[in-house]
């Protein structure tokens, strides 16, 4: 129950942070996708099921404040939590660098799906979106995720980063 309330609070808090505060730290108009980063972190630390469920909840709530399609938001954020959990089982020790690489791949995949699903975009527009939005955002997500994991490790003395600790 405590965990459920924590996830609810986290999801509700993500909305103002993502829509109101993060635009101020946007570089060249690009801000990180905090929802994707949090879903991947939950998946990695708590397993694929929790990653999926929290990712779906975050994707749904954040989509209420975006002009984008709901299905895309659910699949990319929920998928990020699920795949982070699945891949996390194969990694002996999660370090910020490992998480950064994983987030880079996940964010690139999600961004590419989103851009390719835009029905009105021409090839030139699609390529422009990939190099000006998808790639910088993926880099931003990777750095933010690595930073968050490092901060959590320092602040809360996170010990559960090894596979055995996480899943035993």
């Amino acid at each position: 129950m405590k965990k459920f309330l924590l996830y609810c609070g986290l999801t509700l808090l993500l909305v103002p942070v993502q829509t109101t505060l993060l635009p101020h730290v946007a570089i060249w108009g690009i801000k990180p996708d905090l929802g994707l980063v949090v879903a991947a972190l939950v998946g990695l630390l708590e397993g694929e099921l929790e990653g999926l469920l929290v990712g779906l909840a975050i994707g749904w709530v954040l989509n209420l404040y975006s002009a984008g399609d709901l299905w895309l938001s659910l699949i990319t954020t929920g998928g990020a939590g699920l795949f982070a959990g699945l891949v996390g089982r194969q990694v002996a020790q999660v370090t910020p660098m490992i998480l950064a690489i994983g987030l880079l791949v996940l964010s690139l995949a999600g961004g590419l799906v989103a851009v390719l699903s835009m029905k009105t975009a021409t090839v030139t527009d699609t390529w422009w979106m990939v190099q000006s939005v998808v790639v910088p955002q993926a880099c931003f997500d990777a750095v933010l995720g690595a930073g968050l994991l490092w901060f959590l490790g320092q602040r809360f003395m996170l010990q559960r980063l090894g596979t055995f600790d996480r899943y035993s």
Binding site: L49, L52, W71
Partner: protein, 292 residues
Amino acid sequence: MWMVNVRSPYGARRLALGLFAFLLAALFLFPGQSQGLLEYLDGPVGQLVRLPLEAVSSLDQGISNVWQQYVALQNVEEENHRLRQEIDWLRGQNSQLREAAAATQRLSALLQFKEQALPTMIAAQVIGRDSSNRYKSVILNKGDSDGIQKDMGVITPSGVVGRVVKTTGATSVVLLVTDPNNAIAGLIQRTRDEGIVEGTPQGRAKLKYIPMLSAVKEGDHVVTSGLVGGFPRGIAIGTITGIEREEGALFQTADLSADVDVNHVEEVLIIQAPQGQASETIQKPGVGKSQP
């Protein structure tokens, strides 16, 4: 009986993959029903999120006001001088326009024109930006409960901002005029040629489908045509900055510089369209609809 043990890693993995596969199947096979179920919950969740969103937004606005009023005052004198000059120029323009308005009033009375009913407007505040980077939209602090509906036009005194594409109980999302998924019927004020104003991925705007024989030129003003969509006729959209004429093409396309700086807009007016008008908005595929 078969049961999944979520505590075992294998059981949790199986359940997660099954859930994800079910979700994918539901979203692709029954897009309307599955998303309609979630959209039913949008209202209560929107009300719940309203509290932290408005708290953070007012804090953000407070800090921004302090910064603008006390810290960032370096160029104020220069700006003051420029604004005084602009006021003098506008005063001159104003007197000319008064004359023109008086003449129009006399002529309208002669022709017995019916007065055009002004639409009702609701003032709203911008409390956030799109949660993703792929769409150019802003979040307003007015929603369903304030009478806001999809496809209503959003303006400032300077001109068009965009149109409402999504609402929750307490907030609404406005797709900006510079978003490639937006389409607004426009009219070149001088030549009276019509076209469609669309955004570009780079965050600019274009007037498309201008007839090839149109004598459009740089500096021409574009306003809403009022024929379709949630805007009445004559609201400023932008100024033409360049024209593309391709060999063998049927239409011309013009680059537009939007009259409203949509990246810094803080307060807006939402036009409550007369009944039946909102449904006629030009709808581009994929926007406002939540279907794969």
